[in-house]
Amino acid sequence: MIRFKVNGEPIQASIDPETPLLWVLRDNLQLTGTKFGCGMALCGACTVHLDGQPIRSCSTPVSACAGKNVTTIEKIGASAVGKRVQQAWLDADVVQCGYCQSGQIMSAVALLNTNKNPSDADIDAAMSGNICRCGTYNRVKQAIKMAASPSAAAPAAAPAKAAPSKAPAKQGA
């Protein structure tokens, strides 16, 4: 019997203690926001927080969670930083396919929880474990900066140097 908490709620699991936390979340608790990407802690899609620390749930046996609290993407918005990060992700229109984004957001929240004003290098260091095959990395960085200081970064709707919004709107006119 393994006792731990998921998103603040107590869980008692009679389960193979080697079962990766990822599959307890996805199959047993049906919390499918946490994604399976590689199974070897190489891509970050399965990132959750264990007592606030970002971990790769695909390679963390559920036994390692005993007595601890797991936070997933489904509840990260309950914290102020989590809510701000999710909003910044929308404001910067970050997502494409979206499959990696739960993990990206969990890593970003963990970063901002310990570093309120990360530099580009801090972001690179904290986020390089999260692969995005759609290549949303520019907007991920932009969103983290927006979440760190909401008034400082321009929203994606008015990208400073990209896609001049007036040009396409007037095309063919």
């Binding site: 709620e9 107590p10 869980i11 008692q12 699991a13 009679s14 389960i15 193979d16 599959w23 307890v24 199959d27 047993n28 608790l29 049906q30 919390l31 499918t32 926001g33 946490t34 994604k35 399976f36 990407g37 070897m40 190489l42 891509c43 899609a45 993407i73 489904e74 918005g77 999710q86 929308l90 229109d93 970050v94 494409q96 396919c97 979206g98 499959y99 739960s102 986020m127 390089s128 999260n130 692969i131 995005c132 095959r133 759609c134 290549g135 949303t136 990395y137 520019n138 907007r139 991920v140 960085k141 709707a157 990208p159 990209a162 896609a163 919004s165 040009a167 396409p168 095309q171 063919g172």
Partner: protein, 731 residues
């Protein structure tokens, strides 16, 4: 919630209400035609009568593209796969432009396989060729205009006024004397009216939605974990859903000789073992039980000893030898032999490895076989062929196989397989076990799964005369045909030339007076597939690095040299000029860095890129990319910018890291440790500039990929004086 009642082999007992209870089967019902409100039926073009391959039992036929609820909500059925490119937003924008609805009330759903959803150019439902917006451009604006006409007519009838005296504004119909009705209020009445045959579409000067930077409709559910990918189906969605993991032969073309499943008997949670000639599937109640079962399996595989064992080193040698001999001529202009008279000439050989698609979501397919019918849930780029392939395996007519399109975690061509490999496999398993089953490929299965961008070798002899003009260009491409042996062969292979092998060379926009492109197509040894931008992945690299070499040989500026060859192609010229201007071409790069440029036309669009590169401790670092894109008329600038960034990241990933190698028929890579992909700390800052003035949309998803590798290679040359002729790049 009582998890102990969930019939999981490895359950969790006595939990507290840990998780918010979702509305049961909400997801499954979402694509059904809803009662109440109005269902507007449109069938465009005239290919088909039914969207859902089921008889229309109601007076109002089931809706193909648009549903307007009594509450005024507007739901657009998206016929293409959403796998990152933004069709769940850009396609509804086309409808909304003409409909005149309130954008905040627009919802987007992925359409199931259905004849009404056929691609208007290719005649089957599919997503590829950067054509989702292109082929929907007239179709979906027409849908919106027809619906608007019917809603206005219904309101006019109710008010007893002329429809010409009514207007539409933001989901409301406005009549004479301040009359006002919402779309929802007249939806029922509008449904009973005939669909107008002719509608007039707005000129671009009146666009309010098209061209406006619009945030993605699918984003909120992708930042809070609610978005449901194929991988995410559970017993909440499909009761009694099982999970299968599949053991494949380690070598391509391996066949099962024998297996021993004895060790599985002592493992909990395993319900079935399915054996086929090509695989063994272990089916269980959860991923982990199926995975442990698969890991415990012992299997022996057999390969025909007479068959060649694909080996990438051997193939490269053979391709290189073939490249030095004459090939089949795909394009000839003037006398290419005049290259021998060049004052300065270059003979260069280029090689490109096999590449895996490596989408974030490993392949998966869920099938429920019910004996006389079946249902599939899959993130498919090829709904029509996949539905047909499933029907064949299951022994059912296609109309008895419902294929639900799931949003997909990337695809890049891997989910558009003419032989429907993983879908066929899932159906074979489902037919045996007769319970709903989700077949999951692990990352390793996906990486070793045997469908790759083929390896190629190019050999080019080209030169300039004493005046610096190109004297001749003799180009020979060697590589497997992607489409040979598939249903696409008749369409894409003409006179022995697979167009996907030579596109980007044979149709080069450069004005080269003496030019030849030849092709040698060796026997297919490695199963292969299109990969984001297909042939342009390698042809753009050779064209754009060789042009750069000739510019250097002519002692000309790379931009000026290209411009001198592009007089007949103003779009290419203009895009090149825009990238050069915005990048500060001609001005000094920051210390320790150099710039390289490339321009390439693909999928009806032109993309030029300037890469700013440094080489530090033997590592190529791309700091910045300035991209210019002419994709015709822009529907959603936010998505276009995102797609160019995405295409650059995807191409750069392959240019710096990507290589699948085979030894003795076995793929040597398995996961992201030995098939590394671009990470955030390697991503350049990408600036995107759009060429204005387009009349119609052209491709967006792929045209950004081809130029990045040659732009970086040309920057590496500018920095080091060394030419890159082999990918992935090494310095």
């Amino acid at each position: 919630m009582d998890f102990s009642k969930m019939n999981l082999a490895q359950g969790i007992d006595t939990p507290v209400a840990a998780v918010a209870k979702p509305s049961r089967r909400k997801f499954l019902q979402s694509s059904a035609v809803l009662g109440g409100g109005l269902v507007l039926g449109f069938y465009l073009p005239l290919r088909d009568r039914l969207a859902h391959a089921q008889p229309a039992t109601k007076a109002v036929p089931p809706n193909a593209f648009l549903r307007i609820g009594k509450d005024g909500s507007v739901t657009v059925q998206v016929k293409h796969l959403e796998f990152g490119q933004g069709v769940m937003t850009s396609l509804p924008m086309l409808v909304a432009e003409e409909l005149g609805c309130d954008w905040t009330r627009v919802k987007s759903e992925l359409a199931p396989a259905g004849a009404a959803y056929a691609h208007t150019m290719f005649g089957m439902q599919m997503t590829g060729g950067s054509s989702s917006v292109v082929n929907s451009w007239d179709q979906l604006r027409t849908v919106g205009a027809q619906a608007r006409t019917m809603l206005v007519q219904a309101a006019a009838n109710q008010w007893k006024v002329k429809p010409e005296d009514c207007q539409v504004d933001n989901g409301m119909i406005l009549g004479p004397g301040g009359k006002k009705l919402g779309f929802g209020a007249v939806a029922d009445a509008a449904a009973k009216l005939p669909v107008p045959e002719k509608v007039t579409l707005k000129p671009a000067s009146e666009f309010k939605v098209i061209g406006k930077p619009t945030k993605r409709i699918d984003a909120p559910d992708k930042v809070n974990g609610k978005a449901k990918f194929g991988m995410d189906l559970t017993t909440k969605d499909i009761p009694n859903l099982h999970v299968a993991l599949v053991l494949h032969a380690p070598m391509l073309n391996g066949e099962l000789e024998s297996m021993n499943a004895d060790k599985l008997k002592s493992l909990p949670g395993i319900t079935h073992v399915v054996q086929s000639g090509r695989f063994v599937a272990v089916v269980g109640k959860s991923y982990w039980s199926a995975k442990k079962g698969r890991d415990a399996l012992e299997a022996k595989w057999w390969v025909d000893p007479k068959a060649p064992k694909p080996d990438s080193a051997r193939l490269k040698r053979e391709y290189s030898q073939a490249a030095a001999k004459p090939g089949k001529v795909a394009k000839k202009v003037g006398d290419p032999a005049l290259v021998k008279t060049a004052a300065k000439s270059v003979v260069a050989e280029y090689d490109f490895p096999f590449l895996a698609h490596a989408a974030m979501e490993p392949l998966n397919c869920t099938v429920h076989y019910k004996g006389d019918s079946a249902e599939l849930w899959v993130g498919s780029q090829f709904q029509t062929p996949d539905q047909g392939a499933a029907a064949k395996v299951l022994g059912l007519p296609p109309e008895k196989v419902k294929l639900n399109t799931m949003i997909a975690g990337g695809g890049f061509g891997r989910r558009a397989n003419p032989v429907s490999d993983y879908i066929v496999e899932a159906c074979e398993i489902a037919k045996e076990v007769k319970v709903p089953v989700k077949v999951i490929w692990t990352r390793e299965d996906d990486m070793k799964g045997g469908y790759y961008r083929p390896a190629y070798v190019h050999r080019v002899e080209a030169g300039v005369d004493a005046a610096g003009k190109i004297a001749g260009w003799d180009h020979h491409i060697v590589g497997q045909s992607i489409v040979a042996g598939t249903a696409f062969e008749g369409f894409l292979v003409k006179d022995g030339i697979d167009n996907t092998s030579v596109e980007g060379v044979a149709d080069t926009p450069y004005d080269i007076p003496n030019f030849q492109c030849a092709l040698t197509t060796p026997t297919k040894e490695v199963t292969s597939l299109w990969w984001r931008s297909v042939g342009h992945t390698h042809t753009a690299f050779v064209m754009e690095t060789m042009i750069d070499e000739l510019a250097a040989a002519a002692k000309a500026d790379p931009v000026a040299f290209r411009k001198s060859l592009l007089a007949k192609h103003p779009r290419v010229l203009k895009t090149l000029e825009l990238a050069a201007e915005k990048s500060g071409w001609g001005k000094a790069a920051p210390a320790g860095r150099a710039r390289g440029i490339a321009v390439h036309e693909s999928f009806g669009s032109v993309c030029a890129q300037v890469a700013e590169v440094s080489v530090e401790k033997g590592q190529i670092r791309v700091h910045k990319v300035v991209a210019a894109l002419d994709c015709g008329l822009v529907v959603n600038p936010l998505t276009v910018e995102a797609q160019v960034q995405s295409a650059i990241a995807y191409g750069l990933s392959a240019a710096l890291h990507g290589a699948i190698t085979l030894k003795d028929g076995v793929v040597e890579q398995s996961n992201f440790h030995d098939y590394p992909v671009l990470r955030g700390n390697e991503m350049p800052l990408v600036e995107v500039h759009l060429v204005p003035g387009g009349q119609k949309p052209t491709g967006v998803g792929e045209p950004g990929t081809p130029p990045i590798a040659p732009a970086v290679a040309n920057a590496v040359f500018a920095l080091t004086g060394k030419r890159v002729r082999s990918l992935p790049m090494k310095v």
